[in-house]
């Protein structure tokens, strides 16, 4: 199994373990006014995105420790670059679509919570799709 595949699998599960409780906690918070709600969602997004990056770094560190650094010195070749390109493309498409849906929900005048929750789900799903693309492409080719 390729080292990036291993890191992606660990990242996927760590992201699930990190983002789901964080989102559920955010869902349960009650905000008296709009200003407080927007501030709360802003903090939530900062934690979510920063946390997702941190979780990816943590996954790479864990794999490096357990595999004793094996595989990390492999050269990055054209196949790695092609898979990375596909994964980033999948991420971009999903992120763009979720942002579009978020904007549409706001335009429709839906509740702030629903729109932000959709955006959070979009960011999260895009991140998961990125890792899944890595896993599938390294396993089956793409």
């Amino acid at each position: 199994m390729h080292i990036i595949q291993k890191v992606s699998i660990v990242s996927l599960f760590l992201n699930l373990a990190f983002a789901i409780p964080l989102t559920l906690r955010q869902r349960g918070l009650a905000h008296p006014d709009l200003q407080a709600a927007v501030k709360s969602w802003g903090i939530y997004f900062l934690i979510l995105m920063g946390g997702m990056v941190a979780v990816n770094i943590l996954a790479a560190i864990l794999i490096a420790i357990f595999s004793r650094g094996q595989g990390f010195d492999d050269p990055t070749d054209e196949r790695d670059r092609m898979i990375e390109l596909k994964a980033v493309r999948v991420f971009n498409i999903l992120f763009f679509l979720s942002f579009l849906a978020f904007a549409a929900l706001m335009a429709l005048g839906l509740e702030l919570f629903a729109a932000f929750f959709w955006l959070a789900a979009g960011i999260f799903v895009s991140g998961l799709a990125l890792h899944l693309t890595f896993i599938i492409c390294y396993q089956r080719g793409c």
Binding site: D74, D77, Y138
Partner: protein, 77 residues
């Protein structure tokens, strides 16, 4: 459903005739990872023209002896 054209190869055979060259050795000589050689051998990845020429060059063979273009019709046979 319309099938896909593919590129097959004889890398495994060429490695055998090159004194059972390992995948790692071949990977080192062309500057890619062992996993990439494995993916090419198994037909999961079609290499770039440059890499294909480099691999054929390691075995001292022309490109067409190591890589074969196969149309969807031919692979059905």
């Amino acid at each position: 459903m319309k099938g896909k054209d593919s590129i097959t190869n004889t890398i495994r055979t060429q490695r055998f005739f090159a004194g059972e060259m390992t995948q790692q050795e071949l990977a080192n000589r062309v500057g890619v990872s062992r996993q990439t050689i494995l993916a090419i051998e198994n037909g999961k990845y079609a290499p770039s023209l440059l890499l294909a020429f480099q691999i054929a060059g390691v075995f001292g063979k022309p490109l067409t002896e190591v890589f074969h273009y196969q149309t969807a019709k031919e692979s059905k046979k």
